[in-house]
């Protein structure tokens, strides 16, 4: 018997429509990266790869790309160094005020990035006035701000994997004679390793794609890729942007796929 179910059909159509809405802009951007027209026009007259080479030849983009990679890597490292022990303390040791600390460390996720970016800038300026140490428009300052971007992601993912990891494994290790340090390195860390890898990936993505928080903090020659894109867009409208965005999309997509292999992302939120 032919089983025609209108409700199911409507549901599927809706799902497809939502996915299309999410994915179409990305598809269009990737597509546009190959248009040969000097000014973005539709439909394209032909296709070319030259926008990619042009993007790479523009110093702003190549430097921005390198800067974003560098800042992303260092900020990810910092957020792991700070976030993993913090998550461990919060999940494993009931100390007073632990929920407050948890919310505080997750807070950068809730505050609008542009506001936080401005706040960090003002803070850096104040510090500079007091100590004459410059943070704004320096690599160090950028790393600090991006660590703030990355930290909530690290916290979220590492806390989630600690919460789901059975603590009796740790009890078992201790009953077998392992001290606290051995228990952490021989049992806890291997068990939550997938969570840490996912945390690193997400932290990196968050940093790599951050625009608002960096806006006030970059200096001449120390621009990140998203800011280089915005700067370029102010004066130009050609497929260079699409080419740059395409590269960015693929890097982020690869990082997401990689993290999904280690942690089913659905479980972390």
């Amino acid at each position: 018997m032919h089983n025609f179910n209108f409700g199911r059909l409507a549901f599927r159509s809706l799902v497809i429509a939502v996915f299309a809405f999410v994915v179409m802009p990305l598809v269009v951007i990737v597509w546009a990266a190959f248009f040969s027209d000097k000014i973005l026009t539709f439909p394209p007259k032909g296709y070319t790869l030259s926008w990619f080479t042009r993007a790479w030849e523009l110093r702003d983009f190549s430097q921005g790309f390198a800067m974003s990679l560098k800042v992303g890597a260092v900020a990810t490292f910092c957020s792991l160094v700070l976030g993993v022990p913090a998550a461990l303390a919060i999940e494993r040791f009931p100390f007073p005020g632990r929920e407050t600390v948890r919310q505080l460390l997750l807070a950068p996720m809730y505050v609008p990035a542009i506001v936080a970016g401005a706040a960090v800038y003002v803070y850096f300026v104040q510090v500079e006035i007091l100590t004459e140490v410059q943070f704004a428009a320096t690599f160090g300052g950028l790393v600090i701000a991006h660590t703030l971007v990355a930290l909530p992601w690290t916290m979220r993912l590492v806390c989630a994997s600690l919460a789901t990891a059975n603590t009796t494994s740790e009890d078992a290790a201790r009953s077998l004679g392992a001290n606290a340090l051995q228990t952490f390195f021989l049992v806890t860390l291997p068990i939550i390793r997938p969570g840490i890898i996912a945390a690193a990936m997400f932290s990196f993505i968050a940093s790599f794609s951050d625009l608002e928080k960096s806006l006030f903090l970059v200096g001449p020659g120390k621009t990140t890729l998203p800011i280089a894109i915005v700067n370029y867009l102010e004066w130009n409208l050609d497929s260079t942007i699409a080419a740059v965005a395409t590269v960015q999309i693929f890097i982020i997509g690869a990082a997401l796929l990689l993290s999904d292999r280690y942690v089913k992302l659905g479980k972390a939120f």
Partner: protein
């Protein structure tokens, strides 16, 4: 190898007394079950023996060795956890080897011990598997091998059978009992399942509300319960409320006088007898305890039939009798006499 001695153990969490003033001697090589409903303090007691929980007062000794202030990892206890807590990232052999590695045994000695332990639990062929590729029973054997590899002073088992299905559970408990006897290791296991405790423990400590209600063999607990709690927790039990009016004489709420063996102070008490110790009779018997009852229902259970009866005071009692036995009417509403011998009942609070 040594016994375990708990004296005056107490654990208080804020206002809550998890365990109060517990004295317990576990003999060398004995398998002792701590039995009780959830929240009775049995697990806390086990975790105090293990060293995960520091007692608020009292002392824990392994043989002559006072371990009260010793942290878990220095106590040398083997523990099998509820759900086994195997290390998911390590193979079976590596799991068993874990305690030996942190003890810094040399490689050869470790390898020898691991293969000895795996032979002991008959899992040599699965040495390279990871825990998630094992069945529940196999996981439990790995957990046992891992706990025993460190040559512990005491073996502790926390609800070790709860994660297994019913059939495997009976099989594994026999197996664990045999392995425990074979190793002759002082063991404590925690369970809420009385059948499990009765099946494999040498002695059972029944706990309730942080206290040890009674300690004894399965038969002691069943035949001579020391309290109302033990009487009702272990097996099925009929209780008649009343008071002791004279030595050996008990008066029910309706004023009937019953005889009982043993001594008991005068005052309020409850008379307790087991469903299989009572008999249902058509005629009122002479010279034994008897009360008139009305049959409410009879349930045929194969070898046994269970009779649900009601006393004049409205109290429901249970009687079981071999089904083959003829002579008891099955019609609900029949007036009968319930009788039992003075030596077959005990008095509790």
């Amino acid at each position: 190898m040594a016994g375990v001695n708990l004296s005056g153990i107490r654990k208080v969490y804020g206002d809550f007394k998890a365990v109060s003033d517990l004295d317990l001697q576990i003999k060398e090589g004995e398998l002792l079950a701590l039995l009780g409903p959830s929240g009775c303090g049995k697990t806390t007691t086990l975790r105090m023996i293990a060293g995960f929980v520091m007692p608020s007062a009292g002392s824990v000794r392994f043989g002559d060795h006072d371990v009260t202030r010793l942290p878990v990892h220095k106590r040398n206890v083997g523990m099998v956890f509820q759900g086994y807590a195997l290390f998911p990232h390590l193979s079976v052999a590596r799991n068993v080897e874990f305690g030996l590695r942190v003890r810094k045994w040399d490689a050869q000695r470790r390898a020898d011990k691991v293969s000895q332990m795996l032979r002991w639990v008959q899992l040599e062929s699965l040495a390279d598997r990871h825990p998630k590729a094992l069945s529940g029973g196999q996981q439990q054997r790995v957990a046992l091998a891992r706990a025993m590899a460190i040559e512990p002073d005491v073996l502790l088992l926390d609800e070790p059978f709860s994660a297994l299905d019913a059939k495997l559970r009976t099989q594994m408990r026999t197996e664990i009992r045999e392995l425990q006897q074979d190793a002759h290791i002082t063991s404590v296991f925690v369970t809420h399942d009385q059948e499990e405790a009765m099946a494999i423990a040498d002695r059972i400590g029944v706990m309730n509300q942080g206290r040890l209600e009674q300690l004894g063999s399965a038969e002691d607990l069943y035949r001579r319960p020391a309290s109302r709690f033990v009487a009702t927790f272990i097996g099925k039990c009929n209780l008649l409320e009343g008071r002791v009016t004279a030595p050996g004489s008990f008066e029910t709420a309706l004023g009937r006088t019953m005889q009982f063996a043993g001594t008991r102070a005068l005052g309020p008490a409850a008379l307790c007898f087991r469903p299989e110790q009572a008999r249902l009779l058509v005629e009122e018997p002479e010279g034994v305890n008897a009360i008139p009852v009305t049959l409410r229902s009879a349930t045929y259970l194969g070898p046994l039939t269970e009779y649900d009866v009601e006393t004049g005071a409205g109290r429901r009692l249970l009687v079981t009798a071999p089904s083959a036995q003829p002579g008891v009417p099955h019609e609900p509403g029949t007036a009968l006499h319930l009788s039992w011998h003075a030596e077959d009942c005990v008095l509790v609070d």
